[in-house]
Symmetry: C2
Subunit: 279 residues, 2 copies
């Protein structure tokens, strides 16, 4: 049964029901697949499907990174279309595309991601300003997650530059918060810089944070759990490698992935309960 409520409402319910804001990240590389799968586009598709089947039930959202499909050109895009179509009802679908182009071109990307692929949310670049964002929000109710403080080693080269005494990431966060105050624009803030994450949450209490970098990239779960939720929208903590790497190398890899996701779900519930008791 299709749930026709707006994505934000579905997300709120889903996070409440699961008791944890787990986002299942799907970033499959052909050189990091279970042994039984071929190192090609078909292996990548099978791994993506297998992870979704095994772990989407524990997830408030499934985040598909377009790069890992696009690497195979049109065949990869066809695989992405099939994987997306077969995600079971329940979790939101976020396309982690990090697109950003001038208005007329942004409209075409929005058609691709919000239109054809029917994403509930997409990740976008902030550098071109609002022209690059608005065409995605023209799809009623859909969500945008704007890159603010990313989880990669060179993130700070631009994002930490000081603009009137504040890091650029903070300025972008405040700009997005003021420009789109209705909860539909969240912010991508990595857990790999926990000080930044905490500071950004203090600066902008409203918007949801989509937090990558927990697990394989070393970010702390507790800080991410405290900080991801905004007053206007529930946040998400993305786990990709932390789940996929528990599956690779095991003959029963789907079972291992499902177990890893359930383990993280329990950890989040536990930490959340502790946090709830102490705050």
């Amino acid at each position: 049964m299709i749930d026709s409520r707006p994505p934000l409402e579905r997300l709120r319910d889903r996070v409440a029901t699961l008791g944890a804001p787990l986002c299942l990240g799907i970033d499959p590389r052909p050189d990091a697949l279970p042994e039984s799968l071929p190192a090609n586009v078909s292996g990548v598709e099978s791994f993506a499907r297998g992870l979704v089947e095994a772990a989407a039930g524990s997830a408030a959202a499934v985040k598909l990174n377009t790069a890992y499909f696009e690497a195979f050109g049109s065949a990869g895009w066809a695989a992405l279309e099939r994987v997306r179509a077969d995600v079971p009802p329940g979790p939101l679908i976020i396309l982690d595309a990090k697109r950003g182009d001038i208005g007329p071109s942004a409209e075409r990307y929005a058609e691709a991601l919000m239109g054809r692929l029917a994403a509930d949310g997409v990740t976008l670049q902030p550098y071109l300003g609002e022209d690059a964002i608005e065409p995605f929000l023209a799809f009623p109710g859909r969500l945008v997650y704007l890159l603010v403080r990313t989880s990669n080693p060179s993130a700070g080269q631009l994002q930490d530059l000081l603009v009137e005494g504040r890091p650029l990431a903070t300025v972008v966060a405040r700009w997005a918060d003021e420009r789109w105050p209705d909860g539909r624009v969240g912010l991508v803030v990595g857990a790999t810089a926990p000080g930044e994450l905490r500071r950004l949450r203090e600066e902008v209490p409203g918007p949801a944070f989509l937090v990558p970098g927990v697990g394989a990239q070393g970010g702390e779960l507790a800080t991410a759990l405290v900080c991801c939720h905004g007053t206007r929208a529930p946040g998400l903590i993305n786990l990709s490698r932390a789940i996929a790497e528990r599956a690779i190398g095991r003959p029963d890899w789907q079972r291992a992935a499902g177990k890893a996701a359930l383990g993280w779900l329990d950890d989040m519930r536990g930490a959340g309960a502790t946090l709830g008791a102490t705050t």
Copy 2:
């Protein structure tokens, strides 16, 4: 015959031979096609092919914007693959993809664009720092054009923010110039803000500028011609709508597109000659 020299060398020769740095931009929308073509992916592919056939001979580079193909999903990507494969020898192929992701994901985008689609150059976002750029430069000799000052109305929202008294766009330009001093990283600087364009050229004399915004978006040709070339690499002036719109609405649309491109080529040669005589 395949020209196996590095893209930068081929570009230098091509601009010198043509006497003008014309970049043919291909951004076909299904609602803006010649009447004889269907308003779908097949019409978009035919228009793209027709423009390339008619005008690539006047162009130093052909710039294909991925958004206009991606809007049709895997079918659009298949069309992009065919269009790219059939560009005749001579002009460089630039994929205007504006991608930007953390290292492991950037590697997959580089595989898609530099690998499978064999682009000579791509456009990229600066917001994530060097991790998002290096995987593309790992393809020997290939070129990157980093977004610095874009041509859209909201460009200034981030790009004009002052960082220690200088606009962010300038800081990004100087950073790229110092980080990659070998001529392989050019900068996208729109002609719609001619003051910015001139100022940026003074700040960073080295890198090539890829200049959009001349023609339909109102930017001045003369300023673009003076400013696009760097001391280390020849620049490019992109024309998309200025050529496509001369073709749409005409039964002999290919001939009209070829004529429009030749007209711009003549204008550029004329202005260039004048500039050469006076400087």
